[in-house]
Symmetry: C2
Subunit: 494 residues, 2 copies
């Protein structure tokens, strides 16, 4: 078809085909046994970059050479989120169907900014987000839009709330305006940092992000929320946004959505629900009681790339006010106008957020939902919760460890508290646990992370599609053995 | 290795392997001959979604069925950015090495928020952006960070400029503060809409984004910029940011960077350069004179996903003030603290933007640069410019068409102006050209877009890795034949 001279155009596609087969085999082998690698990369800062040329090659290099370097230089510097012993942060994995979706998406390489620039990308996004809405038993009149991650989804929700104030902030901005009230947002002390980052990016100021205290279970204290709102109103502030979380980052606490919804209604606040991680548990009928009140939210985020086996990145922002979102963000230069857009016959997703360029992300989610089925996804999430509950039981039964928060989902917050250290006070226990964390992670056998829940807390999160009983048992054994060595040596330094 | 029950865990990886081979073949065939498809999807709104089930499947479905639906239902709804006759917007293609990079990135599925969460991802990002900086002959002390797209890069640049004002906007916000000046930004009438969107997202207000008039070549008029700044200062505004563009969206005009740099220095503005598309031309020594003055910029964006054959998404924001970027965006909750981060022994890229979650995007860029080589990339970009110049010559030599802007890069702005229509005035010519656009796009043979350059303008952009002489010639022929039919029928409606 082409009279392209060989030195221009695409690379030789037979070479692509051969390397492609090779990499499919590599991926299959890798996903079959990621345990061949240490879970946390065992390298020092600078180790990887030191092995690579400081300048780019002038001439083309064979794919085979690049793949060899990938295996020999890059791979030893990877931390393996696919490893079944990855228990850190929110343990997140993709899945093989999602990988195939990304392969196709990269090959098609479309920008779905407009319906016209790939109708199927827009329509599959609408359809798949409608499926997900059904799967999570969310209100069926909500509309979704795919964002890259929850940082963006949270920020966009705040921006929509700001637009809903009708204070002409879009047109006139906020700086130097005598007519604007001081705006305030409410989150909990346990809300994710991205909500705060979204607010400061939007020019609302960190000081105006009020962090409401939490109860003994690390859930937002609705009474304290009301007190804070009343105090701010009395001081002349304008409260406009509140965020409740289903599954906080530190301990997967669940904020009291109904009570927050009541206050949001009373004080006319935009009510946003951050379900980036925990929203996925709505797949399970037995978890849905936690979501009571979500139907009164103005927006909600859930991230299929966190706990629905969809490769990073894919976050979904749902809202019952899509027109407000569009009013906040739509800009239509001549070069993006289309007849079908002018006629409002289609949805152009570029109108619903900051980003004009939009990858074809819906494809991988559609493939994941179909390849596992709604029941299959639910079964996996249920199993992860079961594994975490089991680990929590072991902690509770151990004289050397204690749990630091309820285990409502698949994340266990705990610490070592051996009898010989308890008399030394909290600082010593904090130090012991920090050293325990470093020691178990340094083995390369497991990767856990930490947080602060009044005291220093270890976190073990189950969310990896390959994690089984065996892995959780081995993690528990490693923690116990390592602690015993610490205790036997009479010091925290092991 | 695993005692997973078959009904949980990952899908069967032998099935993945077989489907993977099949899809590698499919991608190779597709990229060999995207011309088997109409370039612009020939479907009506709703055609695709109507063919898909309205509810998700309860049970898992075989990969083979999903792939069949992809081919039979999704593909007919795609607009083919890979088609060599895709001349719309900024024609952008990925490439086979980039597709392999995305395959690996999806399989690894890491989140590079922290160095620790995959050291090689962080270090390869640093290295590859340093390579790119060298390739584009940009100042070697600039530091880069990968963003998803230029909308985000532009917004982040404005946010850094806002932080550099030292007005405590991060902490105190902007609403209701009597001590804040009214902030103003300067772009040109031809700047990309994303700069304006970034400003309004940040709460700066559309009215404070001052669109400076352009000269006859659609480049920012530096004298008008100075006049606007002086007028704003006299009126009590605080100018703080100016954006110059290398390759505007409508006509790839090039703003006078040196003159803007002079004014930015004089008035202490943050000087941002939007080279999302045109920045890539710095690969060519013969184009570098256009970049004189860029070395005095505070930040610059260039998008390898636009004209460097890297699959969407990958935008790079360079700045000589990385500490300001970090001051604007870094938030460090306990659960993201690491020993190496606290010691400042590593770069944690989450600190340099809004998004916490970060895909392993550097991998595909590293593979693209190596697979084509610096010279190979430059040769392709040079060829695209040559093809566009050739098309521009045909327009200039035709009695029926005229060029509407200089062709400095690979994008030709032109319109039909047959003698029989000229007497009918501008409105008739606008209508004729809009109808010509629709008619040629409806053939499925080519896809071009339009803009407004005082009058309605057609745009033909060459940037696809598969586009050759033959394609550009055929596009020219189709435009001429279609116009002739219009003229012969005596009306614009064809």
């Amino acid at each position: 078809m082409s009279n392209q001279t060989p030195s221009l155009g695409e690379i030789d596609l037979d070479a692509f085909r051969q390397s492609g087969y090779q990499l499919i085999d590599w991926v299959a082998d890798y996903l079959t046994n990621p345990e061949q690698y240490p879970v946390l990369a065992q390298v020092e800062p600078g180790d990887i970059i030191a092995q690579l040329p400081t300048s780019p090659p002038a001439e083309a290099e064979p794919l085979a050479d690049i793949i060899t370097d990938f295996e020999q230089i890059i791979m030893p510097g990877m931390t393996h989120w696919n490893h079944p012993n990855f228990f850190a942060y929110f343990s997140s994995t993709g899945s093989a169907p999602g990988v195939l979706g990304e392969l196709l998406s990269a090959a098609l390489n479309i920008n779905g900014m407009l319906w016209r620039t790939s109708p199927a990308a827009t329509e599959l996004e609408t359809l798949t987000l409608d499926w997900l809405c059904q799967m999570l038993a969310l209100p069926q009149d909500w509309e979704g839009v795919i964002m890259d991650g929850a940082s963006m989804s949270n920020m966009i929700a705040i921006a929509a709330a700001r637009e809903a104030l009708d204070l002409q902030i879009r047109t006139k901005g906020m700086a130097g305006r005598a007519d604007l009230p001081r705006l305030r947002l409410y989150i909990s002390e346990q809300s994710h940092s991205s909500v705060e980052k979204g607010a400061l990016t939007l020019g609302l100021g960190q000081e105006n992000v009020i962090k409401i205290p939490t109860d003994d279970n690390f859930a937002l204290d609705a009474h304290a929320l009301q007190t804070a709102i009343e105090a701010d109103l009395a001081a002349g502030y304008r409260p406009f946004f509140v965020c409740g979380t289903i599954g906080t980052t530190s301990s997967t606490a669940i904020d009291p959505l109904s009570a927050i919804a009541d206050l949001a209604a009373k004080y006319k606040l935009w009510f946003h629900v951050d379900g980036a991680y925990g929203g996925t548990t709505a797949l399970l009928p037995e978890m849905r009681h936690h979501f009571d009140g979500v139907e009164r939210a103005d927006s909600m985020v859930v991230n299929p790339h966190k706990w629905m086996f969809t490769p990073i990145d894919l976050s979904v922002l749902y809202t019952c006010h899509p027109a407000t979102l569009k009013r906040a963000f739509s800009i239509l230069p001549e070069y993006l106008r289309t007849a079908e857009g002018d006629a409002e016959a289609v949805k152009n997703y570029m109108d619903y957020g900051v980003q004009l360029g939009r990858r074809f992300r819906a494809l991988k989610l559609w493939m994941v939902i179909r390849a596992f089925g709604q029941e299959g996804l639910a079964a996996r999430v249920r199993e992860h919760i079961r594994l975490a509950q089991q680990f929590a039981t072991w902690v509770d039964e151990s004289p050397d460890f204690e749990r630091l928060a309820p285990t409502l989902m698949s994340n266990v917050c705990f610490r070592a508290c051996p009898a010989s250290y308890q008399a030394q006070g909290e600082a010593a226990l904090d130090q012991l646990n920090a050293q325990l964390l470093d020691a178990v992670n340094a083995t390369g056998q497991i990767f856990i992370s930490h947080t602060k829940l009044r005291v220093y807390s270890l976190r073990l999160a189950v969310g990896n599609i390959r994690t089984t009983n065996t892995h959780v048992e081995a993690a528990w054994q490693l923690l116990n053995e390592t602690l015993r060595r610490f205790v036997d040596s009479g010091m925290g330094s092991g």
